[in-house]
């Protein structure tokens, strides 16, 4: 058997057929091919973070916190970067409350072995992109996000406030 296969390598290109001492064989080569594009996906479990109505205790504390307010999930088949940026420099509302008064952090991640960097500490939003996490190829990597909105007796008059912000997943 082994000797026949050696012959097949030598002569197969010419005849495709080999006759050994004890057996005859014929071989055909085949090739499989496939293509993988860069594939990424980003989902959020909820698009709106609602802090509800603030209380005097919140003013006294200086902020209101919403733990596990959002789950952001990413899929990427190459190294990736997850960033976040405010859609505008200020909130819409009674006054020009700065976007940086909305802070967020990553509370936990479902697949830590797929992550190289996590923003574990609160940071204020800006209109420029800031890293939330960086990681390796993987799928269904879920980030649980905590949020804080800063409030002060001096600036935050009564009213409704809103701020849009956008997550971006990049796989360069």
């Amino acid at each position: 058997m082994r000797s026949v296969k050696v012959l097949a390598v030598l002569l197969g290109a010419v005849m495709g057929v080999v006759t050994g001492m004890a057996q005859t064989s014929v071989s055909q080569g085949s090739t499989a091919t496939f293509t993988v594009p860069t594939l990424i996906r980003l989902t959020v479990n909820t698009a709106t973070i609602n802090f509800g109505s603030l209380t005097m205790d919140d003013y006294d504390l200086g902020y209101k916190e919403l733990l596990s307010g959002q789950i952001v999930t990413v899929w990427s088949n190459r190294k990736w970067t997850l960033t976040v940026a405010a859609d505008s420099a200020t909130w819409t509302g009674p006054w020009a409350k700065p976007a940086s008064d909305l802070q967020l952090r990553v509370a936990s991640v479902s697949k830590p072995d797929r992550v190289d960097f996590l923003a574990k500490e609160y940071f204020g939003l800006a209109t420029t992109a800031q890293n939330v996490a960086l990681g390796f190829p993987g799928g269904n990597i879920a980030f649980t996000m905590d949020f804080r909105v800063l409030v002060s007796w001096d600036n935050d008059v009564a009213g409704d406030y809103s701020l849009g912000f956008t997550y971006t997943l990049t796989a360069p």
């Binding site: 058997m1 495709g16 057929v17 064989s25 090739t31 594939l39 799928g139």
Partner: protein, 305 residues
């Protein structure tokens, strides 16, 4: 006229049972046709001949499997007369030689040729042109096709091809030989694999009991892309034989089996013609399936003890 009728039949997909070599091109010639090499291929060029011109084509790469019996020979002439408006009949006589041109079969005739290119198929799956043929008759320097132009003004010839039919022997045909698995999606990653049913057909013919093996020619897929080679293992391509293969198949691998560089038995059977359909499964993960293009070569070997 008979030849033309046969060509019409073939054009509608009626083919003979058994196996054939497919249409083969010549690679050598001698004689008095003008631009004779232009008749090597089915293209936009043509050779031309005046009445009485004789030309011989040979160098066909005809491979008859060991143990096979030749059942028939076809010669295809893509030809026409010129000028098309001239109302003279023109013909091409065809003879075959099995000994380098020393001996010739009786002639078959294509014609009267039309004023436009037409495929004439002379002979047939069970037509030996008046003799019995052996595999050695088809050695490239022995098997020859002699054409004689008759009547008309000028005969033009785009292609002179040969197809040989045979039965029995030991042969193995893959359809397709190159399997394009296409483009992966994120759903494939989430599932962990992607399946393709009936992705490859294997036709084989054996004169005795047989065993079919498959093995990868390398332990990893060849990777082309902008990232470091993830060295995707060949075993990430799994294969199995789909149920109900046709022909004398006595056993086959019905469960997905990873491809490896060692021979794995695909199927086994007794003498005769068999047809198998294979399904492939590709394992997909984020570590070894990075963006890029992947190629893996593997080889089927049909063995008769």
């Amino acid at each position: 006229m008979w030849a033309f009728f046969l060509s019409v039949l073939l054009a509608f997909g009626i083919t003979a049972a058994g196996q054939d070599t497919g249409w083969l091109n010549p690679s050598a010639d001698s004689g008095s046709f003008r631009n004779p090499t232009y008749a090597y291929y089915d293209d936009t060029l043509w050779a031309s001949a005046s009445p009485g011109n004789v030309h011989v084509y040979w160098g066909y790469s005809i491979a008859i499997p060991p143990g096979a019996s030749v059942t028939g020979i076809e010669v295809r002439l893509d030809a026409w007369r010129w000028p098309s408006g001239v109302p003279f009949d023109a013909f091409l006589d065809v003879q075959l030689s099995w000994d380098g041109g020393a001996s010739w079969t009786p002639r078959y005739t294509a014609g009267p040729l039309a004023g436009y290119e037409q495929s004439w198929i002379l002979g047939g799956p069970n037509d030996g042109w008046g003799r019995s043929w052996s595999a050695s008759d088809f050695q490239p320097d022995r098997f020859r096709v002699r054409l004689t132009a008759r009547e008309g003004r000028e005969t033009r010839l785009d292609w002179v091809a040969v197809r040989v039919y045979f039965s029995g022997g030991l042969s193995l045909t893959l359809n397709p030989a190159t399997v394009n698995l296409g483009t992966l999606t994120l759903d494939d990653y989430e599932r962990g694999y992607r399946d393709w049913d009936s992705i490859q057909e294997i036709k084989l013919s054996a004169y005795s009991s047989w065993t079919l093996y498959v093995s990868a020619t390398s332990s990893a897929w060849s990777y082309t892309g902008d990232l470091p080679d993830p060295k995707k293992p060949c075993g990430h391509l799994l294969w199995k034989v789909l149920p109900s293969p046709t022909g004398p198949v006595t056993r086959y691998q019905a469960n997905f089996t990873p491809l490896s560089t060692s021979d794995a038995e695909v199927a086994a059977g007794s003498a005769g013609d068999a047809r198998l359909f294979l399904a492939f499964r590709l394992l997909v993960d984020y570590d070894t399936t990075l963006p890029g293009t992947y190629t893996l070569s593997f080889r089927y070997t049909l063995v008769v003890p």
